[in-house]
């Protein structure tokens, strides 16, 4: 029976392992294909006549091949004879295949024309500019795929590997590998954004003569969505290895569900994100750009101060070796003022949208900052040590205390008023008022009293009222005798009540937590009578 369980456990882990590894490799290939789209777009931006779309599926397949062969030659030592033979053969096939693909795209006429020249000018005709670019892309992406495959291999943990780790006591630092993988993914994504940004800057005259970028940036969005799915799966890999080392059985569908739920979550989020406003920043980006400009100016001044001696030397030398001719300012292109876009829509609706944008943007950033800082206690401590930050924190604390004080005073005033009003009402309203007592506003001592009074009230409702002459202990004995299941809880709650009511001992939140637990059990038992 136990063997069957072990076998079933092993099978579940093996299935999850295979599934995750396959999907992770596929995701990386798709991500790299998305990254190539950015390069192709940039290439077309620079050379509008060039069409490199065919490279995308080619690079996708090449990445798949790189990852597959990385697994196959893992056992052969790096730079060993076997490894060199394998890689040499592989690259010969890849280079020839790449050339054939180019001919397939450009037409067989070109192949025939080139073939005629191979005898005399083989190097010039074979290694054309397009082919060299394609090869450089192939090398770049093959290398990237290999690096990703290496990282993924370190995240894996099949039964054999884990057995070795278990026996040796040496385990791979998988969270560190995951962080490295995340860094790599963000680096590639950052390069994609940078390239897209460069194309957007064409409007500012950085690339005169280049057309404005056409089409959307779906590939960047797709890249990040795929990257997030990949990161979710790597988290699963880490946890799976942990569970396997701990021999905790997992469901066979865990991996597929992980993929499904994270993909659904990201798809929903992407849909929502696409609906959110991005064009109503009302100068937010300009403000940020201005702030960056100020920072840049300060940096420039500092650099100027640092390099002032060098500038002076250069200035002196320029007198010795003559000056360069002054540029002919009359030939500079005339600056044509850009027409302002016509105002659309009503003023108030634009303002509303802008407010919505600001609220959303700042709210999201503020919330994430709060989360980040609350999760990094060291950072908070380091911030507190800063003199300026310390003063700011003190100010904020004082402000918070002030607001709380005002809130409490107002709350107490209202409570007092309400008490006076309730006193005038009859006992019939007492039960209704009871339900509206806010526990959060009560001190721990008051909450203990509240729970005891709640016990008395519930006891009375169940036909076990406390006689006015009864002491708390006497009532506890009577109630405990009637509800023997919670006799202990009744006694303990009474003890705590006595302490809270008649002593000056500190009543902590832990005490209140215990009392609440006892009260819940007593309530349950009384309800079941």
């Amino acid at each position: 029976m136990e063997n069957t369980d072990q076998e079933s456990l092993r099978q579940d882990y093996a299935w999850n392992e295979r599934f995750t590894v396959f999907v992770q490799h596929l995701l990386i290939c798709l991500m790299l294909a998305c990254a190539l789209v950015s390069i192709v777009r940039f290439g077309r931006f620079l050379v509008p006549s060039w069409n490199g779309a065919y490279l995308v599926p080619v690079i996708f397949l090449l990445c798949l091949e790189a990852m597959l062969t990385q697994r196959l030659v893992r056992r052969a030592g790096f730079l060993s004879g076997e490894w060199l033979r394998y890689r040499l053969a592989e690259w010969v096939v890849l280079l020839v295949g790449l050339k054939l693909v180019i001919y397939l795209v450009r037409g067989f006429d070109r192949l025939l024309a080139d073939m005629a020249q191979w005898r005399d000018r083989f190097v010039e005709t074979w290694f054309s500019g397009e082919y060299l670019f394609a090869v450089s892309m192939a090398v770049l992406f093959w290398g990237l795929a290999r690096i990703f495959a290496e990282e993924l291999a370190q995240l894996e943990g099949d039964e054999r590997l884990l057995q070795i780790e278990r026996e040796s006591g040496i385990t791979t630092e998988r969270p560190a590998v995951r962080r490295s993988l995340a860094g790599l993914v963000l680096l590639v994504g950052g390069v994609m954004i940078f390239l897209e940004g460069l194309m957007r800057l064409s409007g500012l005259g950085l690339f005169p003569g280049s057309p404005s970028p056409q089409g959307g940036v779906w590939n960047i969005l797709a890249f990040f969505i795929l990257a997030l799915v990949l990161l979710a799966l790597t988290q699963f890999s880490i946890l799976r290895v942990f569970w396997s080392l701990e021999r905790i059985p997992i469901g066979s569908n865990l991996g597929s569900r992980w993929l499904l739920f994270s993909a659904l979550f990201l798809a929903g989020l992407a849909l929502l994100v696409l609906l959110l406003p991005t064009q109503y920043s009302l100068g937010l980006l300009d403000v940020l750009a201005f702030l960056l400009g100020v920072l840049g100016l300060i940096g420039g001044i500092l650099l100027l101060i640092l390099f002032a001696p060098l500038i002076l030397i250069w200035f002196a030398l320029s007198f010795l070796f003559g000056r360069s001719p002054r540029p002919d300012l009359s030939r500079l292109p005339e600056m044509i003022p850009q027409p302002q876009p016509p105002a659309t829509g009503e003023g108030w609706s634009e303002l509303l949208k802008s407010i919505l944008f600001w609220a959303l943007f700042l709210g999201v950033i503020g919330y994430s900052l709060y989360h980040y800082i609350s999760q990094n206690q060291e950072l908070l401590d380091a911030l507190r040590r800063l003199p300026l930050a310390g003063a700011v924190l003190r100010f904020l604390r004082q402000l918070r205390d002030l607001i709380r004080g005002v809130n409490q005073s107002v709350g107490q005033g209202i409570q007092a008023g309400l008490r006076r009003l309730r006193a005038r009402r009859g006992a019939a309203h007492e039960a209704a008022a009871w339900r509206y007592t806010s526990l959060r506003r009560l001190t721990p001592r008051q909450r203990v009293l509240f729970f005891y009074l709640a016990m008395l009230r519930r006891g009375g409702e169940q036909g076990l009222p406390r006689h006015p002459a009864q002491t708390p202990y006497e009532y506890a004995r009577e109630l405990g005798g009637q509800v023997p299941d919670v006799e202990q809880e009744v006694a303990a709650l009474t003890e705590e009540f006595i302490e809270a009511r008649y002593s000056r001992h500190d009543i902590t939140e832990e005490d209140v937590g215990l009392v609440q637990g006892w009260w819940q059990r007593i309530k349950h038992a009384l309800r079941g009578r």
């Binding site: 969270p175 995951r178 962080r179 995340a182 963000l186 994504g189 950052g190 954004i193 940078f194 897209e196 940004g197 957007r200 800057l201 959307g216 940036v217 969005l221 990040f224 969505i225 997030l228 990161l231 979710a232 790597t234 988290q235 699963f236 880490i238 946890l239 569970w243 701990e246 905790i248 059985p249 997992i250 469901g251 865990l254 569900r257 992980w258 739920f261 994270s262 979550f265 990201l266 989020l269 992407a270 994100v273 696409l274 959110l276 991005t278 064009q279 920043s281 980006l285 940020l288 750009a289 702030l291 960056l292 999201v364 950033i365 919330y367 994430s368 989360h371 980040y372 999760q375 990094n376």
Partner: protein, 395 residues
């Protein structure tokens, strides 16, 4: 992971400012959404998970207990991963823990079952069940929740007694002839001719009419006397090396006698000086002598929970409790210590109209002297050195 993402978000914000590009803002939204919504999702989802444990809370020795664990996701948000960790008493299972990792879809319910075996009497905590979960991206710390533990009572082993060397209906038969006040008018076992001095209430008029002679009814003398088992679990009175075995043997003997007396439809009670986990600061309250299976279960509950500890000596307990026992009660003392103080106390009890039966369990110091005293006072003695001695009660 969270740090890398956070710094990337800052870079994205700067890029958005420099490039004035909408698509960077879209990316910013996406990543911030993952950062925030990912954490909210896991937190919300874990709060909506409910777990319920069900099993029979009281079992007999060697009985198997199937425990059913139901986990339900009450929310529409799926729980991508949920680690269950149920602590189990090692006395009842070889596994020690019940652990699983599951994924719960919206409103999905799962049911698990594991088996415990009542291999040792006791009062056990099943659980608590700890639930661990987290966001799918590994950005935040794992979240935890727990479900409270339940209790399982395993009753002590009981030896079916068929003969204890005493009359089956009146184990304290020494009182039978000397005290005819125990005659039960509901149980007539015969008739005889009237003799002078017989009460007129005993005359059987129907028999008198049929025989033509004055007949009187004969009643069974003693049919029901209360039995109270006094179980000594004061650790100081046991020999150190055999303490565990001897106390367990005493508990088995007490359970067996209680069961046997109940099967004879006699009343039985229990007084012990052991420690009950439900009454940590004091001795368990005495269980008064009553009849019936339900009452037997109450005695077995106490015997399942009670543990040997340094408490008050049995003599003190006897002196305190004997005042509450009715006249004619049979005291069955299960103890390893039969010293002169105890005999003095028992003699006082005997003089108060109670019968005494001694069941010394484990090695008794100076046993021949104790036997001599027991014979002198007329206390039946049934020594138990091991469980094999219990087997003799079966024959």
């Amino acid at each position: 992971m969270g740090d890398s993402l956070f710094f990337f978000l800052i870079i994205l914000t700067l890029l958005a400012a420099i490039l004035r590009a909408d698509f960077v803002l879209t990316l910013l939204y996406l990543l911030l959404g993952v950062y925030i919504a990912g954490q909210l999702w896991s937190r919300r989802a874990l709060h909506a998970v409910q777990a319920r444990r069900s099993f029979v809370p009281r079992v007999f020795f060697a009985e198997k207990v199937p425990v059913i664990l139901e986990i339900e996701n009450k929310s529409l948000l799926p729980v991508v991963w949920l680690q269950l960790h149920e602590s189990l008493p090692p006395e009842l299972t070889t596994a020690g823990l019940f652990r699983r990792v599951v994924s719960l879809g919206p409103r999905e319910k799962m049911r698990f079952e594991y088996l415990l075996e009542g291999r040792k009497r006791g009062f056990y905590r099943i659980g608590p069940l700890r639930l661990n979960s987290g966001d799918v991206f590994g950005i935040s710390e794992d979240l935890q929740a727990s479900i409270e533990a339940d209790t399982l009572t395993v009753y002590p082993r009981m030896v079916p007694i068929t003969r204890l060397g005493l009359p089956s209906r009146s184990p304290q038969g020494a009182l039978k002839h000397r005290l005819p006040v125990f005659e039960d008018p509901s149980r007539v076992y015969g008739r005889r001719d009237y003799v002078a001095g017989d009460s007129l209430r005993r005359v059987d008029w129907k028999s008198t009419a049929s025989t033509g002679r004055l007949q009187v009814k004969l009643f069974e003398l003693s049919i029901a006397l209360e039995t109270v088992i006094l179980l000594n679990l004061n650790a100081a009175e046991y020999e150190y090396r055999t303490r565990i075995d001897a106390t367990e043997l005493g508990i088995v003997a007490a359970a067996s006698i209680a069961s046997w007396v109940t099967s004879l439809r006699q009343a039985v009670g229990l007084v012990t000086n052991g420690v009950d986990p439900l009454h940590e600061n004091s001795l368990p309250p005495p269980v008064p002598a009553r009849r019936g299976r339900a009452h037997l279960m109450r005695i077995l509950d106490v015997l399942a929970r009670v543990q040997s500890a340094e408490t008050c000596p049995l003599v003190e307990l006897l002196q305190r409790q004997v005042l509450h026992f009715p006249w004619g009660t049979t005291l069955v003392l299960i103890t390893p210590n039969l010293d002169s103080d105890l005999f003095d106390g028992l003699f006082q009890a005997q003089r108060s109209g109670m019968s005494v039966v001694l069941v010394p369990c484990g090695p008794v110091p100076n046993f021949p002297e104790a036997r001599r005293r027991a014979e002198y006072f007329g206390f039946p003695l049934y020594p138990l050195l091991s469980e094999r001695d219990l087997e003799a009660w079966r024959q």
